[in-house]
Symmetry: C3
Subunit: 330 residues, 3 copies
């Protein structure tokens, strides 16, 4: 399953991947984390690792030269949009940036399927960010070209979950055996729901730390319970900070609280500071999907365990891997 | 006149067009359908056909490598903007996307000629979409680089008319001898006015089907009358659906009617459904400039006669041809 | 110091610059005109001159192939943004256009350092336009990749000042010995403040012509006074138009006046017309940062002394030079 071939790269730096088409991803859509087996993840991460090495050695290369990505964002997301644009450009491909869909055909009432069928006439692969759940699946139903879901409302954001998992694997050199502690808004954090699902494919231990009103939803707890993964809920970091290998922090938004006093009373309990880090393992990593607004102190940034900016880079490599794979070049 | 050279392509797939410069288009502006003779159209469609074959065989190629397109949209049009971007990228060129003109220098009161003379310092060709009639001509008057009109208000949209005609030619394998029926809003449909003008260069028969308030304007009828092209007006599809070779459908907007009851009473008469298609010839094609909002039922989409999504692809090839031609590479 | 090597270009047109890295600019930020010595300017202008020759001869070339520019504009500026995009594309590099920062992560409250540290994961160099003074310096403090300041509020806009000076040097074939007259809004014109600073490195004479309320600020006059550069203030062009070698015109905005009558009474005194040009030297040049709104009559545009559109082109070459330099390819 693993195509992880550093040997091939060393022999022929300018043609690392050849024209082998992977039967399982060529021409396919990337819609949900549910579509991936553990073998698939190994395969993707092997390619992503090769991408990382190529970027380090040559910056960019022409694996997808002549291919065009339609980067379609119905709602703005500088981070995700830029990441896919960079991924395509580092692979020598081109991008059609489509950021103003809301002002244009769509405001004239065009359906998503019509928009997608138009854009696929101009491109080889479509990345779609859309505020409505199920939109990526709808697009994929009508498109002949591969669709990559870059977030469909409160639905899925599979490439974020993949890059989160790849970050853990690269930083810790393994996933099995780790204790992963999720902190903050576990109720609305789409990112964490998808990551928890993916982690059930591994032998990990999950801790959830949140205020009461922002606990992990029951249906996620149930899904995890169906596996043999141990999980436990907390409303303070203290009992688990010392045993955690990965601390995944998310933002707590004031708007989630009906009572502002309640927000004020809890918010500081979940801020990661240098003092928090003193209680943590020496090789723990801190992750965050960004943007952050105070939930990790900037004083933590220089701690080598702060992995959240490296996480952005891992995202680039995962998206390079996915683009190459669905276009049959990985 | 025709440069249609599949032989050359087969011998040398990476250098299909050579450096021959076409005397009639190199460095020229594309402003209006009125500038084209039938010979010009043959020439353009020959190049567009070659573009189609190259895209099918190699996806993209480096005919315009190093050339830069300034894609200047004073009003948003995802479809047209993306089509030109893709056309330039499939030819190996680069694009400067300029979608926010309204927020920027222009809002500081800069004149169109000044903006154009600035942008031509950065580019080799300028595509211009602007809400005011005559703007493309004004830009061309001041620019040293070629201007391609991508729509100037209720004025012209010549590349749309060219792609419409190219669609007919490619789908029907000829234009002479066809019966072309235009349906919907014939009064405000800039697209149809330009297409009707172009069609007077061929031996066709034109039918116009619309509600009374949206009839083809008198000046277009007069222009067609000056040729030997037969034309006839109808307020129902029934008498002409069976004899049509091409059915060109456009959207009827509620806002065009002063009386909403009148709108409600007519709108369904001009919707294309599977029942409509049962009355049509087996080799008729259905066209639409898109976006559509209900005037063609989605149930028609799988009918092989539904040509409106293929029409988008033909648009790509026509725009590739025009870019190559005005840059002296066709 | 000067790498000005036309000989090398003539011998090897496709590889003009080699891989020599300039110790003084490779990996550095471009934040302020204050960082440049006269030797630096010679060096930059030598590279810019080579860029000009390469563009004239081959249009574009692959000096920065595989490099990615994150073009980050927190406020719109079509002109500057397009100029950097073109510069990167003419050098064979790619661009991530980021124009909607205000709608996105930033509106979620993300700090500039976090945004920059994210974007540098996707790119090799960052161009930043931001409305707050000091923002470019702040970004540079956190970034590992080079930052080029494309305007930070009323702070600096160093690439504009460099292109202004390069324009003078190219058009007049020297800078020393020239009389440079600045006209219009000298109080708020960030461009002119930076240019005046740079000019103190040369043996020039400076004239300032403005209405009383828009005089050159005292701190700029003081800075110039610390050098041996003669400077003088006027409230009319008449005494100095005949002796000027360079006439640098800026816009007078009505909003700068508390009394509209005062605005009306002065505005026409500072408009450049064909009559103004009759009083000027035969080899004087007229410059303007654009956009203009009436302060230079369009009737002047065809005068060969009108250099303001050529100025845009010089800007392209200066920005190509800066990008190549900070990426170690000049």
């Amino acid at each position: 399953m693993a195509l992880h071939t550093p040997r091939l790269i060393q022999q022929s730096p300018h043609l690392p991947f050849g024209d082998k088409q992977d039967a399982s991803f060529y021409g396919k859509d990337i819609l949900s984390v549910k579509q991936f087996s553990r073998g698939d993840l190994n395969f993707i991460f092997g390619i992503a690792q090769e991408m990382s090495e190529m970027v380090r050695r040559v910056g960019s290369f022409d694996l997808l030269k002549g291919k065009i990505l339609a980067n379609v964002f119905y709602e703005p997301s500088t981070r995700t949009s830029s990441s896919f644009t960079s991924a395509m450009e580092r692979l020598g491909g081109s991008v059609i940036p489509i950021n103003e869909v809301r002002y244009s055909s769509v405001s004239k009432g065009e359906s998503l399927p019509d928009t997608i069928r138009t854009l696929e006439a101009y491109s080889d692969v479509i990345v779609l960010r859309h505020p409505e759940i199920g939109s990526a699946e709808l697009a994929a139903k009508y498109a002949r070209k591969p669709i990559i879901n870059a977030g469909d409302g409160i639905g899925e954001h599979p490439t974020q979950a993949l890059l989160d998992l790849f970050t853990i694997q690269q930083e810790m050199d393994r996933i099995d055996g780790l204790t992963i502690t999720m902190v903050g808004d576990l109720k609305y954090g789409r990112t964490l729901h998808s990551l928890a699902r993916l982690l059930t494919l591994y032998n990990v231990r999950l801790n959830y730390v949140s205020p009461d009103v922002l606990r992990m939803p029951g249906h996620i707890l149930d899904e995890v319970n169906e596996t043999s993964i141990p999980q436990a809920e907390y409303n303070s970091l203290d009992p688990v900070i010392g045993e955690s290998d990965v601390l995944y922090v998310t933002r707590i938004q004031k708007e989630r609280f009906s009572d502002e006093n309640e927000y004020e009373s809890v918010k500081n309990s979940f801020v990661i500071s240098p003092e928090t880090m003193q209680q943590a393992k020496e090789d723990m990593i801190v992750m965050h999907p960004l943007p952050r607004v105070g939930e990790i102190s900037m004083d933590v940034d220089d701690d080598p365990r702060a992995a959240y900016f490296r996480q952005m880079e891992y995202g680039l490599y995962v998206r390079m891997a996915l683009l190459a794979m669905v276009l049959g070049k990985a």
